[in-house]
């Protein structure tokens, strides 16, 4: 709802009281979700420009040059609140919305990703949310025919009352076919097409900009309902409209519905719009104009069409059987005018409606300092049992229960499937791109700035280990209520962390979204999510390079650990399993070391020296090694006594989450050259041991059979879901 201050501001600017319709419009466009009124002031910290960036943050999708006359596109968004209320429809329409963002730029959508957070699945309600979110994503994305190529899943009690559903869509477009989201020429027509307008999703963004109370059920009407069949038809129709170059501008109907879509087109074009709400094709006959103008019904697009093209556009829309309406015109008066059978229901200056809100004061609270001490740390009594426990824990175990429900291969471009360090797609210029996303919310809870930068490093390592060079970032920043200093402080620190990373590594951020108010009142107490700055990075492979997987490929090869290992177990999975919580200073962000290791791996990949490679992240080298062997025919035999760095016990070496480390399988004949590269870059390295023919994980002091490990690993999540 509008604050008192905002209402007064609107009255002063208008010189009158806003009408009912106008109030609804201001309410949605000035919501946190649409306006970024608490967050936008910090975006200057991000690196957003680069030689290859063709279109940065601000429209539906970011566009980046990938050579040969093609641009890659990316959009990322949250659908958290709707998914908590109605997981199936909330998640499905999240996918629908992100696809619209990409296709509204004239792009072909070729890949989806989703990053999910829930409370522990042992609680039935969390398992219910997970089951239905996954089903929503699966049934929608599979039907529309866009493969899922990546994602992430993390569990923590802090998400019990606020699950997170972040979605990403990637695509491509030729520069000459890009459609911009602006309405530049007065007299052009506004054409709504794709679906009818109903009461679903009325003011969805406003409810997403508040914290949850006990009356969640009352908000069910604020959740949109997806229709993948209509979306597929919209995609096919749009392709025809774009091929014939019939559109002057295009915007999808997302959060804020028609108010946002038309308002942003006018704002970008420096024009105005006049809309006849009675011309909107309706799903329910008795809708009020104030409802039509803010409905978030799905699968709708708003096109700007020049008068000379209107007949052709109508013909194509009719041929494809898509509902449409010629609902108004672009004007030169700088106003958003909405009429109902000729009667003026709203007339707002665009400059007031879009970004004309009074900037609210927000207070950045200080983050509590964490102790350096690792006094909680003990070696496990039984190493084998401990490793199995970690392997089967919900944040490390096998995710195939989730991703086997997603179509990963439709469109026939998928080079690397899910379950690897990143998904890889082939683009029409025959270049392969890898996509990965990460966020370690436990590190971010303990130190939002370092945790964010370090989470981004984990994404970076995922790409580098496959042989890809990072080219762009998209993000989705999920936090609590910005009106609370302690929560706003976490947000600002995380933005600083991401800003540092993007500048340190010179990777532009081209898309993103902010989701605040992810907290709930539970028994009179505030329950806030862990800070969750979800970071997605895309990388590109050299022409002809075959992406490197993490599965061990040969017996009698050496396994090397690149980078030194510090006693950094605060914030680690080992700490969580051992003590039930995270505490202390999490692993540090060390950009120089990170770059050193990156350069080693990149050069070794260029020379074709590495057979398989894995990033060391959550769960340390213990889990990293297991993941290299679990889907391979081979095992390994190691000696962990000589690991460089200051970690001084077996468990510290196995489970430290120090950044800047990689595991690499190098055959005997390539060893000398590999070590030369290490030396050249001044990096640390250690030969951990050998791959062996037997499916066994032998760590020296203890060992386990791969069958045993596989059983625990694959059952970790499944046990709660089947």
């Amino acid at each position: 709802m509008l604050t008192k201050e905002e209402l007064e501001h609107a009255k002063t600017v208008l010189g009158r009281k806003p009408t009912e319709t106008e109030l609804g419009m201001l309410d949605v466009l000035w919501s946190e979700h649409c306006s970024y009124k608490s967050s936008k002031r910090w975006f200057y910290l991000f690196k957003t420009e680069g030689d290859k960036v063709a279109l940065g943050i601000g429209e539906g999708a970011g566009l980046v040059d990938i050579g040969d006359g093609y641009l890659a596109a990316v959009a990322m968004e949250s659908h958290n609140h709707p998914s908590q209320i109605d997981p199936y429809n909330g998640a499905a329409t999240g996918v629908g919305g992100i696809i619209r963002d990409v296709i509204s730029q004239g792009c072909k959508a070729v890949g989806l990703m989703n990053c999910l957070r829930f409370g522990h699945p042992s609680k039935p309600h969390n398992a219910y949310l997970l089951e239905n979110v996954v089903r929503g994503i699966s049934e929608y994305g599979n039907s529309v025919g866009i493969p899922v190529v990546g994602g992430e899943l993390e569990f923590d009690d802090s998400y019990d009352d606020n699950c997170l559903v972040n979605v990403i869509c990637v695509g491509w477009v030729k520069p000459e076919e890009v459609v911009r989201s602006s309405a530049k020429t007065p007299g052009h027509h506004l054409v709504l097409f794709g679906s009818t307008t109903g009461r679903d999703g009325i003011a969805g963004v406003s409810f997403a900009s508040e914290t949850f109370s006990d009356e969640e059920e009352d908000n069910r009407g604020a959740v949109q309902v997806g229709d993948p069949l209509s979306k597929k038809i919209v995609i096919d129709t749009l392709q025809e409209l774009i091929e014939e170059k019939l559109l002057e501008g295009l915007q999808d109907f997302g959060g804020g519905g028609m108010t946002s879509a038309a308002g942003e087109l006018a704002k970008a074009g420096g024009t105005g719009v006049e809309i006849d709400l009675d011309k909107v094709p309706l799903r329910e006959v008795d809708m009020k104009p104030s409802e039509i103008v803010i409905s978030e019904s799905q699968e709708r697009m708003l096109a700007i069409v020049a008068p000379e093209n209107l007949d052709r556009v109508k013909l194509l829309l009719e041929k494809n059987g898509t509902p449409y309406g010629i609902i108004g015109k672009v004007t030169d008066d700088g106003h958003y005018t909405a009429k109902w059978y000729g009667e003026e229901k709203a007339r707002l200056p665009i400059s007031l409606l879009v970004e004309g809100f009074p900037v609210p004061e927000r207070i950045e609270g200080k983050i509590a300092a964490q102790p350096e001490s690792m006094s909680w740390f003990k070696e496990p009594e039984d190493y084998k049992k401990n490793l199995l426990e970690l392997l089967g824990s919900v944040n490390l175990c096998d995710r195939s229960w989730v991703y086997s429900q997603y179509d990963q291969h439709v469109q026939s471009n998928t080079v690397v499937d899910l379950g690897e360090n990143g998904g890889v797609l082939e683009f029409p210029n025959n270049r392969k791109l890898a996509f990965t996303s990460d966020c370690n919310s436990f590190w971010c809870l303990l130190d939002p700035q370092q945790g964010t930068a370090n989470s981004a490093c984990e994404s970076l390592r995922n790409l580098v280990s496959m042989g890809a060079t990072p080219i762009f970032i998209a993000d989705c920043l999920n936090f609590g209520n910005p009106e609370r200093p302690e929560s706003y402080g976490q947000f600002v620190e995380a933005v600083r962390g991401l800003g540092r990373f993007s500048n340190d590594f010179d990777i532009p951020i081209v898309g993103g979204n902010v989701s605040l108010y992810n907290e709930a009142e539970v028994d009179g107490e505030t329950k806030r999510i862990n800070p969750t700055p979800q970071i997605m990075i895309a990388g590109i492979f050299e022409k002809g390079f075959t992406p490197i997987r993490r599965n061990l490929l040969s017996p009698w090869a050496n396994i090397f650990l690149v980078g030194e290992t510090l006693p950094e177990l605060n914030g680690s999975e080992y700490q969580r399993i051992a003590t039930g919580q995270v505490k202390g200073v999490p692993p540090r962000y060390r950009p120089e070391i990170e770059k050193q290791s990156m350069n080693v791996i990149q050069e070794a990949h260029q020379k074709g020296l590495i057979r398989s490679c894995n990033n060391v992240g959550r769960g340390g080298i213990g889990i990293g090694l297991m993941k290299m062997a679990l889907r391979s025919k081979y095992g390994f035999k190691l000696n962990l006594d000589y690991i460089p760095g200051t970690a001084n016990s077996l468990a510290q070496r196995l489970y430290s989450e120090t950044s800047g480390r990689y595991l690499a399988e190098v055959t005997e004949s390539n060893q000398a050259e590999f070590l030369k590269i290490i030396e050249k870059h001044g990096s640390s390295v250690c030969e951990l041991g050998l791959t062996v023919k037997e499916p066994v994980a032998d760590f020296g002091i203890f060992s386990l059979s791969m069958d045993e490990a596989r059983k625990v690993f694959s059952n970790g999540l499944k046990q709660y879901m089947e």
């Binding site: 089903r135 599979n142 229709d227 069949l229 597929k232 059987g321 086997s404 429900q405 179509d407 026939s412």
Partner: protein
């Protein structure tokens, strides 16, 4: 020869099929939106009904598409002995049309499943498996309703008439329960009609048509299909 690739509203594998067919000498693939009706098929020497979610699969997979007027054209071509392949949703449509026996039920797991599987090709040759007899094919599946079912009598005649060219198996070629991804009776992944010119197949040969995708072992099925359009 002209291969008509049908697109119903909601079909989403049509471009994959067109691309895979474009790799095959002599194939002239054309996209035929179903609204074109019978006229859309007048030049066709063969038909592919691709996968996807025709009409959103809103009533039952393939059920709405199976009563569209264009299916009359499919029927006519099939009766003329021209090759017809239905893949995934296309298989569901062909069985809803009654061109193939049995039905495709929801998977045993009650969930959509996407993964790589192995197929054991029958030793007895069909129009679509020439040169592949007895071999093993690595190929992806992606469906929610791929659990093939038919009556005991129908199964008996499918077996007796050697009309089960493809069965799910493990990587060693063993056809067993553990290798059955959806609960299909007798591990059936694909069947042909009595004449042998209509194939229904749940796995996606077009997704295993280039080495970069992880397998090109599906292409041979489409090559056989194209060869048959010339007969």
């Amino acid at each position: 020869m002209v291969v008509a690739v049908l697109r119903f509203p909601g079909t989403n594998n049509e471009n994959d099929i067109l691309r895979a067919l474009s790799l095959i000498d002599g194939a002239k693939p054309i996209l035929v939106p179903s609204r074109k009706g019978l006229a859309g098929l007048k030049d066709a020497d063969g038909i592919v009904i691709p996968g996807g979610f025709s009409y959103g699969d809103y009533l039952r997979a393939g059920a709405v598409a199976s009563v569209e007027s264009i299916t009359e054209g499919v029927r006519n071509l099939a009766e003329d002995g021209k090759p017809v392949i239905g893949i995934c949703n296309g298989f569901q449509i062909l069985s809803e049309m009654g061109l193939l026996p049995g039905a495709l039920l929801p998977n045993d797991s009650a969930r959509f499943v996407c993964k790589w599987v192995y197929l054991r090709v029958s030793d007895n040759t069909t129009m679509f498996t020439e040169g592949l007899e007895g071999s093993l094919i690595r190929i992806p599946i992606a469906h929610a309703e791929g659990n093939y079912y038919c009556s005991d009598d129908e199964l008996e005649s499918l077996r007796d008439e050697f009309r089960i060219p493809f069965r799910y198996c493990n990587e060693d070629g063993d056809v067993n329960d553990a290798a059955n991804p959806n609960g299909s009776i007798d591990n059936i992944a694909g069947i042909v009609n009595q004449k042998g010119n209509v194939l229904g197949l749940m796995p996606h040969p077009e997704r295993a048509s280039r080495p970069v995708l992880g397998s090109s072992e599906g292409l041979a099925i489409l090559e056989n299909f194209v060869r048959a359009t010339k007969c």
